[in-house]
Symmetry: C2
Subunit: 379 residues, 2 copies
């Protein structure tokens, strides 16, 4: 079932949209070739919450993401290594990207306390407060053991805002950490991405991008977004970084999954997105629709025997009504969150499918206007 994997990923740019920086391309992986731009569902603990691998395949997902920090704590990298790697452990025969743990150290450390030293980061486990020390080398070594298809460099992800002085030092440290991680990376079938930092400072983003590209990674991420900045600032961060990223490598905007942000990211030349949003909002009864986000707990759905979206091809919309989903959600039955997760992930994947079509037709800006007009009307 799990095929023999040999190579790193290969990005091919198939078409550059005429009116924007949007790109239509392919990502060749050991598990098949997938189109970009793509949305990657997040399986923090080696599962996309409530869903099986088969269900992810059925909704046409390509790369999925899993979290190095979480897997390091539970079940531990050694268990997954002994299982034959993450694919075998979670029985997913599609490409997997692992993050570096950098973001989690900064967002999940117990009491938000951490001590950043040149060697790495001292912090406490969010589970039991145990003292932990994560270094660029250790992050890569864990990811080598997890045997994901794409590993991420260990970076410092500063909050927003920080002083320019702090950000200058942080960018330099992230570059040194990227170099150290790359030096120990030792898995010929695992690609390694560099991460561009620099906050909202245009010259620091440019510097970070150029220096990271010099190290010649298999792809490049834009980090340090969705950390408290406003949308316009985030879009600028993307613009500043992408200007210096090579055309022949994939670009990944980390932690971004709001539909409007995906559209803006694609317009700016991003190829890959990930976010826990579709599964997290599902657990609270929320569903994406083209007419904006809706909450199924709303009384108006009590006797609404239509699917969430009439034209959606997901398992949930082809099998269940809003009235039934509302019943499950208001009765705290976890099948409700599961079915909404399926719809929400499929919604974002369908969005990327439509964006790819618009890029091919050079009609992305028109698509964006139509989408936003409809999506924001009901928000």
């Amino acid at each position: 079932m799990i095929m023999v994997r040999k190579m790193k990923i290969q990005y091919t740019l198939l078409k550059q949209e005429k009116n924007t920086k949007a790109r239509y391309g392919t990502l060749k992986t050991n598990y098949g070739t997938f189109f970009t731009p793509m949305f990657m569902p997040v399986g923090t603990l080696a599962n996309v919450k409530t869903l099986t691998s088969d269900e992810l395949k059925q909704m046409n997902s390509a790369v999925i993401l899993s979290n190095t920090y979480h897997l390091w704590l539970r079940p531990g990298a050694e268990v997954i290594e002994k299982a034959g790697g993450l694919h075998s452990f979670m029985n997913y025969d599609g490409p997997i990207l692992t993050d570096s743990g950098g973001f989690q150290v900064f967002s999940l450390a117990k009491d938000k306390k951490k001590d950043i030293v040149e060697e790495g980061v001292h912090f406490k486990s969010h589970l039991d407060g145990k003292a932990l020390f994560l270094t660029p080398e250790l992050s890569i070594q864990i990811q080598n053991k997890l045997d994901s298809d794409i590993a991420m460099s260990f970076d410092e992800c500063p909050p927003y805002p920080v002083t320019r002085e702090y950000m200058e030092k942080s960018v330099e440290r992230t570059l040194r950490w990227a170099k150290r991680g790359k030096a120990v990376h030792n898995n010929p079938r695992q690609s390694l991405f560099g991460i561009v930092q620099g906050g909202e400072f245009e010259d620091l983003r440019a510097y970070s991008a150029k220096e990271t590209v010099k190290m010649d990674f298999d792809g490049y991420s834009i980090g340090g977004t969705s950390v408290g900045e406003d949308k316009e600032t985030m879009y600028h961060m993307v613009d500043y970084a992408i200007a210096y990223l090579p055309e022949d490598k994939p670009r990944y905007l980390m932690g971004v999954g709001d539909p409007l942000d995906i559209i803006e990211g694609v317009i700016r030349g991003v190829d890959m997105f990930d976010c826990v949003l579709p599964t997290r909002i599902a657990r609270h009864g929320n569903a994406f629709t083209k007419d904006g986000k809706i909450n199924l707990k709303n009384l108006k759905y009590k006797e609404d025997f239509t699917p969430i979206e009439m034209d959606c091809d997901c398992y949930t919309c082809t099998h269940y009504t809003k009235a039934y989903l509302r019943h499950l959600i208001t009765s705290s039955e976890s099948l409700g969150g599961r079915l909404l997760s399926i719809h929400n992930i499929r919604f974002l994947i369908r969005l990327t499918e439509e964006l790819r079509e618009a890029i091919q037709k050079d009609s992305l800006l028109a698509y964006k206007d139509t989408f936003i007009n409809r999506y924001q009307k009901k928000i």
Copy 2:
């Protein structure tokens, strides 16, 4: 997808086992013909917790059970009626049995307080303490609206033990309630079962059975078990009741799902069983195996890369290892409970498949010995 339903269920006795009272038969329903003895998964709130209807079909389930009391409170019988009945509401195109609410009134009433009068039972909602009044007529009317394939009479389910004097009065009341419910039953495609009560008193069970059978129901349940009595007493209750039940109607032992109790029930002539056990224990990390129940939280499964049972054909055992399931359960990922529910329900359905085979071969007692020896070795 949902076919036109016209008729009541029909039971056919195909084979009586030589050495026991066990029966092999079929239950013809509007959704196909199914073999008995059968185990019915419980979908309290119009879903078998965490699972879709397709998944139930995949594990070869036949009749499933849903709870009148719970559906009456949420989403309400009217909503389900407007949806076109329970099959349509929950998108299950297989037979559904609804209980009467009798057991829930006695087990779930807020503060266990209830006031039983001749007309019905006054009690308070377990959700919000609201005063409720359920009568034999109302229970049947709700079930008529739910449009299940098999409805149950509304009975009094006394605790164990009660005095003989109390039980005598209770049995008489349950008989009067059965008559009143039958009088208002008005759904030509819905079968109606009577319930035999009488506690541990042989003559009262006999009396209850004979009087209930006189009313000519489509099937007969044995109620008032699993209410605190020991196993031997429960088996006696079953013996006492079944002695007076007709051969040409199905017999249903309510709320029983322990593997050993299913075997003992089958030996005594029971055709149908239901229980929340397989899904409830799943949520706590427990799995049935032929070598006894195991808890996946156990450290010894941390690096056990084999399925729960090598020879099990369920989705979980054909896709996932104990190490992965342990990881999900210990990390509180609800996919774990979902996958264990699939295995546990399939385990009980497979058990009934094997029991049917043993009945056909007149080897039920040998099957029982082999099963028990293996099952109890590790308990």
